[in-house]
């Protein structure tokens, strides 16, 4: 049995005018760390809200641990933890009061499952008497995770837990998720940051309500159909505009200090390309063959759609 199943789920808003989720099917296995990767408006939150029984789909069926998301909503609610994208704890309760409240709601106590949250809770414990509304972004995020975990859920849903969070806190957060996974909890997490995709076991790339690809990050990257080159020169912006006007270039996208390009002719000679670019007045031209990343794959799939 899969931990989470979506079977041809469709969701529209505004009397059918806005198609948020478009015939999405996927499975998340027991104990898996699964990522939904896509930008704002891709449909990630709608999928989360359907799975957490907060939203009814227009079409299709969905289940969590074998329970139907529409009929068995009460069963599901007891078995899942949900951390919404928007901070949803009680701002005028303290850290400890929030945690107590959520434990009680699920007929549990902080002590009963303390082991599960200990590592995370220890980091906010010095502030246990502070009101949640007065916490910093990083601490709010940790408290929200503790509250979603305190009843020891079987499946944890985390909707964009790292959005707007700096690189250091993001790394810490992913370390916490890995640790939770080792304790057997199935985790479904969404993120708009493509670099976080490789931290998941399997991912779904989602755009405009449609799943573009579901697989392990390695396999998705390996499916990139053509050779990918990284190129740089002294004036990177002029290089980018020049590349766009060159007929032999199929695609060119800035990636940090390099520009990633694909060529129309698979057998094209790189030395010739280098000469053509140098002839346009570019200096220190450097071209190399590279392995595509998730963001390369995402862009490629987006442009095919």
């Amino acid at each position: 049995m899969s931990a989470v199943t979506l079977d041809h789920i469709t969701k529209t808003y505004d009397k059918g005018k806005v198609l948020a989720v478009n015939d999405v099917s996927l499975q998340v296995e027991e104990g898996e760390l699964f990522g939904l990767i896509g930008p704002d408006g891709a449909g990630k939150t709608s999928i989360f809200r359907i799975l957490t029984t907060l939203l009814l789909p227009d079409k299709g069926t969905a289940s969590v641990r074998g329970y139907d998301c529409v009929k068995d909503y009460k069963e599901i609610r007891n078995r899942i933890g949900y951390m919404p994208g928007k901070f949803s704890l009680y701002q005028d309760l303290t850290v400890k009061e929030n945690l107590d409240f959520f434990a009680t709601l699920f007929g549990s106590t902080i002590e009963e499952n303390y082991e599960l949250i200990k590592d995370i809770y220890d980091q906010i414990k010095p502030f246990s008497d502070r009101r949640a509304g007065k916490l910093s972004g990083g601490m709010k995020q940790k408290l929200a995770l503790c509250c979603a975990l305190i009843h020891k859920p079987e499946v944890l849903f985390l909707d964009e837990p790292t959005t707007g969070v700096d690189v250091v806190s993001r790394k810490e957060f992913w370390d916490m998720l890995k640790h939770l996974k080792q304790q057997g909890i199935t985790i479904v997490v969404s993120t708009p940051y493509m670099d976080e995709a490789v931290l998941c076991e399997r991912i779904a790339l989602i755009q405009n309500g449609k799943i573009m690809s579901v697989d392990t990050p390695d396999k998705i990257m390996a499916q990139f159909p053509v050779k990918l080159y990284a190129i740089k020169a002294d004036n990177i912006y002029h290089l980018l505009t020049d590349l766009r006007s060159m007929p032999e270039i199929d695609s060119s996208f800035a990636f940090g200090e390099y520009i990633h390009i694909t060529l129309k002719d698979a057998g094209a000679d790189i030395d010739t390309l280098q000469r053509n670019i140098t002839q346009r007045g570019h200096t220190h031209v450097d071209i190399k063959l590279i392995h595509p990343g998730i963001e390369d794959s995402f862009i490629r799939l987006m442009n095919q759609a």
Binding site: P39, S136, G137, M139, G164, V168, P192, L240, A254, M302
Partner: protein, 247 residues
């Protein structure tokens, strides 16, 4: 000598005994793309608010677009543009209405607004959407429009606070094309971001840690200085030392 559009010296903002911004000094050149990075709580927003004329510093000096942040905050506001992920456009006004509103607020004449707004709408490919409410546009289009509106009055500097958060990877790059174009036309860009690849697109980058500027140089020089392969690593090395955390 290059023209400086922002000059800060020992700029400090104290709340009680908390130094949100602690003696920061830097200069930004005309037409430069200046990246302003830091962990949550490092003091970026406070510093940016001072430079936009929205908050008085406790001590130190700062000149923005030739005006003093203590004495001439209103002149500063007229000469800058501002855009953030959170606030940029009125969702329940149409595309045209937003352009007219912000153009008017910044003192662009009606005839000028009409002329420029037609050009802008055409350039953005929004002709069919011109009379639609901004709330109905996809996020990527909204952000591109918001940026165009922020530089509509041809300010000397535009402040961009995480302008590309949550935007898809293709639109994110189109957005940076617009930034480059604006910089080439002489508008100075002051930008914050959580995407470290975008730090590479800046001419120079500062990294703030606990209210202080801990690094300021071109991305290439910072990578050499910190013996790092990419900006992500540079940032991580610096920000990891932070003692405080916050928003």
């Amino acid at each position: 000598m290059e023209e400086k559009v922002i000059v800060c010296k020992d700029l400090t903002k104290r709340f009680g005994d908390f130094y949100a911004v602690n003696k920061i000094s830097f200069e930004v050149n005309k037409g430069e793309i200046f990246g302003f990075l830091g962990a949550n709580g490092a003091g970026k927003t406070t510093a940016m608010r001072i430079l936009c004329g929205l908050s008085h510093p406790t001590s130190g000096e700062a000149m923005v677009a030739g005006f003093d942040v203590y004495k001439q905050p209103e002149s500063i506001k007229k000469n800058i543009g501002y855009m953030s992920q959170k606030f940029s456009l009125y969702e329940n006004l149409t595309v045209v209405e937003n352009i007219e509103f912000f153009g008017g607020v910044y003192g662009v004449s009606s005839s000028e607004i009409r002329k420029r707004s037609d050009n802008l709408i055409q350039k953005l490919g929004l002709t069919a959407e011109a009379k639609k409410l901004v709330g109905a546009l996809p996020l990527g289009w909204k952000q591109k429009l918001a940026f165009s509106v922020a530089i509509f009055h041809q300010p000397r500097i535009v402040f961009l606070d995480e302008p590309t958060g949550g935007v898809d990877p293709v639109t994110r790059r189109q957005f940076w094309d617009m930034i480059y174009e604006a910089a080439a036309s002489g508008i100075t860009i002051f930008v914050t971001t959580h995407y470290m690849d975008e730090a590479e697109y800046c001419n120079r980058v500062t990294i703030m840690v606990d209210g202080k500027i801990e690094a300021l140089d071109s991305p290439a020089n910072l990578k050499t200085q910190f013996e790092a392969d990419n900006m992500d690593e540079v940032f991580y090395r610096l920000a990891r030392r932070a003692k405080r955390s916050g928003d």
